[in-house]
Homo-oligomer: 345 residues x 2
């Protein structure tokens, strides 16, 4: 790793938008009311929706589906105080199926939500790369602050660190090494690009791919330490200097788990909206629907970059994301997802 | 890394105290008043102490030397609001020498303080292990929350991540690998020990030492991922099964930088109070005083475990830490350090 230069503050602009892609509210689809009822009012309405003979699912969607993360946090706290009962438990006992899963994930604090999703993925009997998506997403398509909060939530919830569970659950050494590097990152989060470093590290990555050393310390260091803007410049550089995009060159080495994981990492860093458009597209297209992935894609990005994902979806699939969701889901589950997408049914 | 077991919640007690050693206030020497003046009053008194012909150093010590981290934070914020001037800048322009350095370090938020100390260490012309102490201390003798806050502060202050600066500044590959692993950690922070894991990993460490593979991925994983209680049990196990303490076995391989760094890591994890007693002792004993180390030792631990450090100092040096500090310093610097030690001069 001797060749790594220090990035000085030569604030050269990359072609990417200067505002952080992950700022909540910036490019999200969630519609929050201009004047929101107090957490007490919301809690009372939720309590009423849970009570009585039938549950008022529409009422629940109307409230929670139009509140942002900080508002939902206040509702959770207030509900607990008012009724001495956890809002999550109440939802769990009143709703069911995919609708319940989606509302619960949406109601958790985002850090607890991702910690639980990661834990579920690591303990799942389903193996393979698809299952590890959430870990890549929270490391490569989220803010460093969010990742740190997820790691803290993981420790609180599961009595060990996320890294310990990765080592215990992922049997492939190369995958383990990459995932450990990624989840341990705390990247610089502003736009700061050094083109010399981009050049140098594009070459280093190219060399590693040429010699098939995909988990060389240098590769892990570059992917898990450099800031997202710097990495995008490095990937641009790679394509300009070496002809192909870096993920294409990696996939030429094989279509195994390691190559697929690295492709996912690069996509999440380079164009998270494309990754999530594909998560949602893949969950819908073909026989049957993968509700867990569909829910994860929409619930985790509705407050972040769903507007961009919608555009990318159109680019990739030449059809509307919203229509696809409506066509492939039904009932309250559909109504809830459409609400998070900013629509009405 | 295949052999690592998952640690299940078999809450076996280790011999260590169950309360976190790093809880602020628990074993600190700092004396905070029962009834503290408001941040406004404190700010006004500080402003007065700075004004006029001479600076009122005693007044400054009397206030800041008796406020904990959260109180100092409020004073910083209030001072800024009242006088449109940073408290740190004011201290910088009114005080001088080692006294100034100590008061400024004490006044910073602990995360900013350690980020600045780490940055200074990485940019220092002084080379060698001694210089890297602060990085080991914040990774191995602090809470995971504090380490995450330091990494965030580092990004905000220096326009790159701590890891990027470690890679750019530390030229030795093995040292770099260990430091990167340590600073990236987010350990589980409660007392949870699995004796099977301790046994297994004590053997793995022993094997790595025997084969001189001190920076094997397994070693870095164990030292930078396991919780402090688990690691202490592993070190105990090592000594029981293999005769010597692990740091002794490491030092048998040589007295180079790598061995010394690992020894420091183990000491900081196993008995941080012993590490800091030695930091303070070494800074005082012999010709001249190393004021920077002395200040760091006292300022960073006065709110954490100075009572334990004092005891360890007596064990090691058969003399009083407080007497040593008084004997080796003078003037306002002495008065300030003694105040943080809970004494009066």
């Amino acid at each position: 790793m001797k060749s790594f230069k220090k990035i000085f503050s030569t604030k050269s602009k990359s072609s990417h938008s200067p505002e952080s892609s992950f700022k909540i509210g910036g490019m999200g689809s969630l519609k929050v009311l201009d004047v929101t009822p107090s957490p007490e009012e919301d809690s009372e309405k939720l309590k009423k929706a849970f009570q009585g003979l039938g549950t008022d699912e529409e009422g629940i969607i109307e409230i929670l589906g139009h509140r942002d993360a900080s508002q939902r946090k206040k509702i959770r706290e207030t509900y607990q105080k008012l009724y001495n009962e956890s809002l999550i438990d109440a939802i769990h006992s009143e709703l069911s199926g995919d609708f319940r899963k989606a509302v619960i994930l949406w109601t958790y604090d985002p850090s607890e939500r991702d910690a639980r999703l990661a834990n579920e993925a690591l303990n799942s009997k389903k193996r393979g790369i698809k299952n590890l998506e959430i870990i890549v997403e929270m490391s490569c398509a989220s803010s460093p602050q969010h990742l740190a909060a997820v790691r803290q939530a993981y420790c609180s919830l599961f009595d060990c660190s996320l890294e310990e569970d990765i080592v215990a659950s992922v049997s492939s050494m190369p995958l383990k090494k990459i995932l450990l590097g990624l989840v341990a990152s705390f990247r610089y989060d502003k736009e700061l690009v050094d083109m010399d470093v981009a050049n140098l590290e594009a070459d280093r990555l190219h060399e590693a791919i040429k010699t098939k050393e995909l988990v060389h310390d240098d590769v892990v260091f570059i992917l898990s330490t450099r800031n997202f803007y710097q990495l995008r410049a490095t990937f641009d550089c790679y394509q300009k200097k070496h002809g192909n995009s870096i993920d294409k060159d990696i996939m030429k080495l094989g279509k195994g788990d390691l190559e697929s994981l690295l492709k996912m990492v690069i996509l999440c860093i380079d164009t998270p909206e494309k990754h999530f458009a594909e998560v949602i597209g893949t969950s819908i297209i073909g026989l049957g629907t993968d509700e867990d992935s569909l829910t994860r894609g929409i619930v985790t990005r509705a407050e972040i970059d769903m507007m961009k994902i919608r555009g990318e979806y159109m680019n990739i699939y030449k059809s509307s994301l919203d229509d696809a969701v409506i066509g492939d889901t039904s009932g309250d589950y559909r109504r809830f997802l459409v609400t998070l997408l900013g629509g009405k049914i």
